[in-house]
Amino acid sequence: MKLIFAGIVAGLMATTAAKADEMVFTSWGGTTQEAQTKSWAEPFTAGSGIKVLQDGPTDYGKLKAMVDAKNVTWDVVDVEMDFAIKAAKDGLLEPIDFAVVPKDDLDPRFSNENAVGSFYYSFVLAWNKGAVSGEPASWADMFDTKKFPGKRTFYKWSAPGVIEIALLADGVPADKLYPLDLDRAFKKLDTIKSDIVWWGGGAESQQLIASGEAAFGQLWNGRVFALEKDGADVGVSWNQNLTAADVLVVPKGAKNKDAAMKFLAAATSPTGQAKFAEASGYAPINTKAKAEMPADVVKGLPDAHVDGQINLDLNYWAEHRDEIATRWYAWQAK
């Protein structure tokens, strides 16, 4: 009898111990997730012994479904920040355990109670030098079809960026952007609507500019960085660059919460952030990371272009996400 009891206890301990030894990290796939794996997951596993399984791509519908069904298979998920704010409101996320995740050095723009920054980026104005004569200098130039003819490419989805660009181009000063005047933005966008080609993914934006199919566009700085590294003939203007971020969240009811928090600590550490920034061209959200990065890489970061930099108000977006989206898609469908 005693033996059987001991056997059962040992078996139970074995299964729970096995569970504690792994967790699931979900991101968007492709080379970004590969860089995250190399910079965060591998050192984390080496240091803690906890295995990190990769899943993806991030899908918000799937996230909500698993939390609703109380059968959560993802432990850490990379999501857009405005989604994270909304998801927290909807009760889909666990609060971050800041006893495990050091908070002090994290850029306050990009973390809150339920999310810590993953990386941040800027939207910049990029153009194909062969397709454009002259140098566009500001977002207003994107709306000037006489001086700069050709197709323009903008981000297709309802997300921070395009609306602000339209307002800035229409003369709205940066500190008066919010609350967003949607009517004014759409009216401005209407003036070039027939010349707009939409990009839905990072690779598409690069493809459009590199091939000259679009003369210029609003791109993520990391993408332009990759284009330049590849030797593509592109020009870039950081004037009025707009920042936004991806964040890491833990879904409510995640099965390996403790491991998840430890992972977050590793991912947001200066070393982890520095490594990822170098590999991806995106910016670290840990203010101490720059010290660990080579000087020439630091030069290419949004941090080096704070003159005229505008932080997109992700909280505003989280509040008004649905109504903006409805109007955005309605306008696109016209």
């Binding site: 519908g61 909500k64 080609v197 839905g200 493809q207 091939s211 199919e213 309605a330 696109q332 469908a333």
Partner: protein
């Protein structure tokens, strides 16, 4: 009496043939109807009980526009596919087997490449700076690039490309089953090729056209990937819109309502098609 009955072979006391439907019904009943109904129920319960989601959709110009556009595209794609597929299926049905095998091989090969990759290839081919436009300009046929993408043309080209095999293969089966004697007899009776085509070949191939056409039309209604990549936002289709509602806005009540309306309309069209084609089939005598 059925042949089995005449021979005195005992058959179980289920209404003839219903047994064969059992596995299909169990699969669809348990793993489709039940889960989907549970979700569609949210259209009247999420975020609050009532019909607000439907009111919002039907009163909203955007949804109506997207809905209309979806049916338009599906219709255009189906017609173009039928017109392109018929001659090819005709040839396939009567060609010498060696040629037919090669043609079959080409058709199947074109289906094998992953859908996303094929659609991306079309994107690059159809762009203003893409191969097709450059070839046409180089040959002097046009001097401004044609807008072949981000509009109805691009979506149609892309979708016809994907739908062709779905129309060709059933049609080949039907055409092959037609007895050439019927046409020879018609020729003997003095019917010219046009009359023979109109009054014999076309009507006899209608079941194949209907079957393929149904598949293509219905698939086009629900299609997501190709229209998203090759169409412009002004011809957004329902599947993309519903995906946005469900995965981006996380508004499952609205998304299910939109899907339910689509389902109802399509089923109504299907029932209508049954009346038309079925009646003709019964009159023709199967």
């Amino acid at each position: 009496m059925s042949v089995e009955a005449q021979q005195g072979i005992a058959t179980p006391r289920i209404p003839a043939g219903l047994g064969g439907l059992l596995p299909a019904l169990i699969l669809i009943g348990l793993f489709f109807v039940v889960p989907v109904l549970a979700l569609l129920l949210r259209s009247v319960t999420d975020p609050a009980p009532g019909l607000q989601n439907y009111a919002a959709l039907l009163g909203d110009g955007t949804y109506a526009r997207v809905f209309f556009n979806t049916f338009l595209v599906a219709f255009v794609v189906t017609i173009v596919t039928v017109l392109v597929a018929f001659p090819v299926a005709w040839m396939l049905a009567i060609m010498p087997p060696a040629f037919a095998s090669i043609l079959f091989g080409i058709i199947i090969l074109s289906m094998w490449t992953n859908l996303l990759t094929r659609t991306y290839a079309w994107m690059v081919l159809l762009q203003r700076t893409g191969v097709i436009n450059r070839a046409l300009m180089g040959a002097g046929i046009i001097d401004q690039p044609l807008p072949l993408i981000n509009n109805l043309t691009g979506v149609t080209i892309g979708m016809v490309y994907i739908m062709l095999p779905f129309m060709i293969l059933p049609l080949v089966g039907t055409l092959r089953a037609i007895d050439p004697m019927t046409l020879r007899a018609a020729a003997l009776c003095g019917a010219g090729p046009l009359a023979a085509f109109r009054r014999i070949l076309l009507p006899l191939s209608l079941p194949g056209i209907a079957a393929g056409g149904l598949m293509v039309f219905v698939m086009s209604l629900g299609y997501f990937v190709t229209p998203a990549l090759l169409g412009g936002t002004s011809n957004m289709m329902l599947a993309e819109m519903i995906a946005q509602m469900i995965q981006s806005l996380l508004n499952w009540g609205l998304g299910s309502a939109a899907a339910f309306i689509l389902l109802v309309v399509t089923m109504a069209l299907y029932a209508l098609q049954l009346r038309l084609v079925g009646a003709r089939r019964r009159a023709g005598g199967a």
